[in-house]
Structure formats: structure tokens, C-alpha cells
């Protein structure tokens, strides 16, 4: 089977994001960039499918600036067989991302697409659902367990009410939640080996995907700060403070 995995280059999760003074975006100069954590989980799941004995070719796909090659090299070092970068200097919004993936899914004849449930930069949580719609195939979002069968999969989903299990026919789109797995660390020899794995770069124009409607981003601002810090000495004063605030 052929598995496509999405790999987005984002600001590392440990970085405290700084908003530019003019409100035009966030500062990325000199900031550590990494694979979106949910995408790492997606790749790890694909690798485990292959290691579990299913014959699979794993293709890591990124859409973004040319620097995204770094994240694709990391994906190759983790164990992806080859990588495709669709180059775009501008930020690509989810509907457009889904259209690009749909085109690649058709070209590659993919059986399974595993994506992160959301990217930790724009937090949209849309691309997997949109790809599934355009492809007219099942979606299993927020997956915390995946059992692959010959032509279908049983997926456990993390929903507000608990855990939901659905059965989906393949091909399908799966989006990952945190508890699906813990991604492996990359080892030095694998980084060396990854250098010789194929990484194909495509220009967005070459794909022939029509431009999708976009949201216009007018302004970035920091969130309002919560001012806390008051402490009380004992339980009776806590009760008194709660009464004063009218919450009891």
C-alpha cells in the first residue's frame, strides 16, 4: 500500500511566539523550526504500519517554503521512503492545502493519507476533513488507535464524550491525536542515510491546482493578559474571597 504523510514546517512547540510590532505576523527570524508535532505522530504511525508487516511505501509531503526540505530530511531520517515538497513562499490555507493533497493523492494513487489533526501554528484543524471531502473518501479524525485490516480500518477517536470507534473503508484520511503513539528519535546513521533518499520539489504552478478562496489576515495581536497572583492565608479567607467575588 502507499501511505502519504503530511509534514508541516512550524515554529517549534517550545518557542514562546513573539508577535511583530506592526501586527503583520509572528517573528520567525532566528526561531527554531520543527515538524508539526501531530505530523511526527502521523509519520510514526505510518512507520509502525510498515514495521507491523504491511508492505507499504511511505511518502512524506510538505507544502511550504524551500526551507521545508529540512523537515522532509528529518522525515526521511525517521524512515519515510521518499519526499515531495510543493514549494510555496506564501502561507497556504487549509482548503488550498487539501486541493494540493488531493492532486498528489490522485497522482500517487494513495491508499491512506495520515495527517496531523492540526498544525500548531494556525491551529485550523481542517485539512484532513477537507481532503476527505474533495476525495469523497472516509475521514477518521483525532485518532488515538488505528487497527488496519485488508480493505478497512477500525479507528478509535478522541471525542469530547469519550472514545468513539468507527470503521472506515480504504482509501481514507486519518488525522492524529496526541495519544496515537510516541514518535521515535532520529539516530545519526539514519540522518546520513536520509541524504541519499529522493526528495522531489514541485512548483505549485506545475501542479495545475486552481487557487482556493482564502481568508484575508488583517492583524495579529497578543492575547489579553490575565492578572492573577493574589494569595490568601487559610481556608476561611479563601471562602470569604469567593463570597466576595460572588461565585459561591
Amino acid at each position: 500500500m502507499k501511505i502519504l504523510v503530511g509534514i508541516k514546517r512550524v515554529i517549534d512547540y517550545s518557542v514562546r511566539v513573539q508577535i511583530k510590532k506592526d501586527g503583520s505576523g509572528v517573528n520567525i527570524d532566528g526561531v527554531k523550526m520543527s515538524i508539526n508535532p501531530f505530523d511526527e505522530i502521523a509519520l510514526e504511525e505510518a512507520l509502525r504500519i510498515r514495521e507491523g508487516g504491511t508492505q507499504a511505501e511511505i511518502v512524506a509531503v510538505s507544502i511550504g517554503p524551500s526551507e521545508s526540505q529540512q523537515q522532509l530530511r528529518t522525515a526521511l531520517a525517521m524512515g519515510a521512503d521518499r519526499a515531495i515538497l510543493v514549494e510555496s513562499a506564501d502561507a497556504v490555507q487549509p482548503l488550498m492545502t487539501a486541493r494540493i493533497f488531493h492532486e498528489l493523492v490522485k497522482r500517487e494513487n494513495a491508499d491512506l493519507v495520515i495527517l496531523g489533526k492540526q498544525a500548531i501554528d494556525d491551529d485550523s484543524n481542517q485539512t484532513g476533513q477537507m481532503l476527505a471531502a474533495l476525495w469523497d473518501r472516509p475521514q477518521a479524525t483525532f485518532a488515538s488507535k488505528l487497527e488496519l485490516k485488508a480493505k478497512s480500518a477500525a479507528v478509535t477517536r478522541e471525542v469530547d464524550a469519550g472514545l468513539e470507534i468507527i470503521e472506515i473503508d480504504l482509501p481514507a484520511v486519518i488525522t492524529t491525536d496526541l495519544r496515537l503513539n510516541t514518535p521515535r528519535f532520529v539516530k545519526m546513521p539514519d540522518i546520513m542515510k536520509a541524504r541519499s533518499k529522493p526528495l522531489q520539489t514541485l512548483k505549485l504552478k506545475e501542479l495545475g491546482v486552481s487557487a482556493a478562496p482564502k481568508l484575508e489576515t488583517a492583524k495579529f495581536a497578543p492575547p489579553p493578559q490575565r492578572i492573577g497572583g493574589k494569595k490568601v492565608e487559610d481556608v476561611p479567607s479563601l471562602i470569604a474571597a469567593l463570597k466576595q467575588k460572588g461565585v459561591l
Binding site: 487549509p94 477537507m130 471531502a133 468507527i166 470503521e167 492583524k219 497572583g229 481556608v235 467575588k245 459561591l248
Partner: protein, 316 residues
């Protein structure tokens, strides 16, 4: 004139309170507000939706296939209904997040996720970078606006409405490639964490699964829902649907009591819209105290029983 369709969230019997929060967002947009209830039998849910204040019509779309809220099944029906509306909204819960982008893609529309504030009918504020940036986005003027509503940013709308309930059918072809198997829900008589007015959460400081009993007991005394930090979930103290935070539930109760929670950024992201935050922790330097309106330093195993006693006094 705007016409707004809200997709109701429910479990087949009860309307989820997040729907009433989406109504408040629709009121901020302004226009006629309809609610769509997809169900096998919409009876009680449609009646509850009709009582929400400011709702004009409740559309019942009853089909056996709608018995489980599967995105692949609902999205084509939503896309059909959307033709008559300027806006389609759903709460930004796991239900809304699953179904609405699928409908947006069928409509060829870029969705707005997690609306926190309405600037005008096509301009909204939404969070990015886990709430560390608030971004103003503008949707194209002439196409349908499809948006999920960040429930923590909106109060529930009032009741006392008398919307008309109408049965509606769509000719959408429904797929059979996706099948519901089961829902493993934690059975509980406690309030629902996502919508509760009061929440008591425990963290790593609680120490064990057995010790969590003290959190449940105190929550029951307060009539509160129980939550937990990611550390407590990862340590196996409680199931993961209790997790509050960026990767769990984002909530906005009137009262949030954080017990034995240090206050990692990812947890604070999930509670920063709470009206009053109380922190109980033995470490006076725990970051949770920087955001807590009322902090009490000390041993939770002494403080909670004492609090329960004081609450009893207060009630009588």
C-alpha cells in the same frame, strides 16, 4: 440581511450546551437564526433547540443514517442546506471540528476556525499559536461564511424562545464507507466538563488514581465537573477525556479550582477564559499562582477536607 444556520450538537437525546453558545455568536453576527438538528429521531433535541432565545426556525433532518453524527454522512446534507444561508456555524467541539470543514470543502469555502469575537459579519477574531496570538481574519464578502465557534468565548444564549420546528429533507447522496461502531463514554452523574459552571481539576500533585477520590468528593460538594491536567492524565490517574488544556478541553466555567496543578502553559491555555480561578498548591512558586485570582499555598489533602467543612457551614 444575514441568514445563519447553526448545526446542533447532541447525543440523540439531549441538546449539547455548546449549541446555545453558538447561538450567542450568531446573534453577534446578526440576522435570522435557524438551527439544524440531524438525527434519526430529532424529537426532544429539536424541542430544546426551539426554546433557545432568538432562534427563528428549527430544521429537523430525520433519517436513519443521521442516528450517529458521522461527518461523512452529515457534511453533504449541510452543504445542501447551506445554499439558503449567508453563514453556517457549528460549535468548535470535537463534533463541530470534525464535520464542518468537510462541509466547507464541499462548498468550496475556506472555513474560519474558533471564532472568539465578531467584528462584522465577515470579519472575526480567532486564536492561533495555542492562543498566543489573536488574529483578525476576513472571509470573502460574497460567499457563504462557514465558521466554528470557540465555545469558551461565548456565553449560552437565554431560553424562552418559541421557534417553529420544521421537518426538512435533502436529496444528498449519503456514503456507506464510514460506519459507527461504538462510543465508550465515562458514565457520570456529574456535570459535563465542557459546559459546567464549576470545575475542579486535579494535577500530578494529587499523586495517584486512588487519591483522585478526594477531587471527586470535593467536586461533588461544589456541584462541579471534574477535570485534570495533562500530567495527571499521562500518569494514568484519570481517563483522557477529563484533560483540560490546549490538547484537551478548552473551558470557561464561572469557577475553576486547580488542585495540585503547577500550571504549564498548555494547561493555562485551556482555562484562561474562566471567570474566577482558584489555585491550591504546596509550591508557592508554581506558575498557576500567576494567573489565579485566589491562591492558597498548602497541602491539598488538608485543605480540601477543611474546605468541605467550611462549605457545609456556608450552606446552612
Amino acid at each position: 440581511m444575514n441568514s445563519i444556520l447553526i448545526i446542533a450538537e447532541h447525543d440523540g437525546k439531549k441538546l449539547n450546551a455548546s449549541t446555545a453558545r453558538a447561538v450567542s455568536c450568531a446573534q453577534a453576527i446578526g440576522g435570522d437564526i435557524d438551527i439544524a438538528v440531524f438525527a434519526a429521531d430529532a424529537g426532544s433535541v429539536a424541542q430544546a433547540a426551539a426554546k433557545l432565545k432568538g432562534v427563528k426556525r428549527v430544521l429537523k433532518i430525520e433519517r436513519a443514517e443521521n442516528g450517529h453524527q458521522l461527518a461523512a454522512v452529515l457534511a453533504p446534507q449541510i452543504a445542501k442546506l447551506a445554499k439558503d444561508y449567508t453563514h453556517v456555524l457549528a460549535p468548535s467541539t470535537t463534533f463541530g471540528k470534525d464535520v464542518l470543514p468537510r462541509a466547507a470543502a464541499l462548498l468550496g469555502v475556506q472555513q474560519v476556525s474558533d471564532v472568539m469575537k465578531v467584528i462584522d459579519p465577515v470579519t472575526f477574531e480567532r486564536p492561533m499559536y495555542a492562543g498566543n496570538a489573536i488574529v483578525t481574519v476576513k472571509a470573502p464578502e460574497k460567499s457563504c461564511v462557514v465558521a466554528t465557534v470557540r465555545t469558551a468565548s461565548w456565553q449560552e444564549c437565554g431560553s424562552g424562545g418559541t421557534a417553529e420546528i420544521t421537518a426538512v429533507s435533502t436529496d444528498a447522496a449519503l456514503p456507506v464507507h464510514t460506519r459507527f461502531v461504538e462510543l465508550k463514554a465515562e458514565k457520570s452523574d456529574r456535570p459535563d466538563l465542557q459546559s459546567a459552571a464549576r470545575v475542579v481539576s486535579g494535577g500530578r500533585g494529587v499523586g495517584s488514581k486512588e487519591n483522585f477520590a478526594i477531587i471527586y468528593k470535593f467536586a461533588d460538594k461544589l456541584g462541579a465537573a471534574v477535570g485534570a491536567s495533562r500530567a495527571a492524565v499521562d500518569a494514568g490517574f484519570v481517563p483522557n477525556d477529563l484533560q483540560v488544556g490546549q490538547t484537551g478541553k478548552i473551558i470557561a466555567p464561572d469557577l475553576y479550582v486547580a488542585v495540585g496543578i503547577s500550571g504549564a502553559i498548555q494547561h493555562l491555555t485551556g482555562i484562561k477564559d474562566a471567570r474566577t480561578i482558584v489555585a491550591i498548591n504546596k509550591d508557592p512558586d508554581a506558575p498557576i499562582f500567576q494567573v489565579a485570582d485566589i491562591g492558597l499555598v498548602g497541602d491539598l489533602f488538608k485543605i480540601l477536607p477543611e474546605l468541605e467543612k467550611e462549605l457545609d457551614k456556608f450552606k446552612t
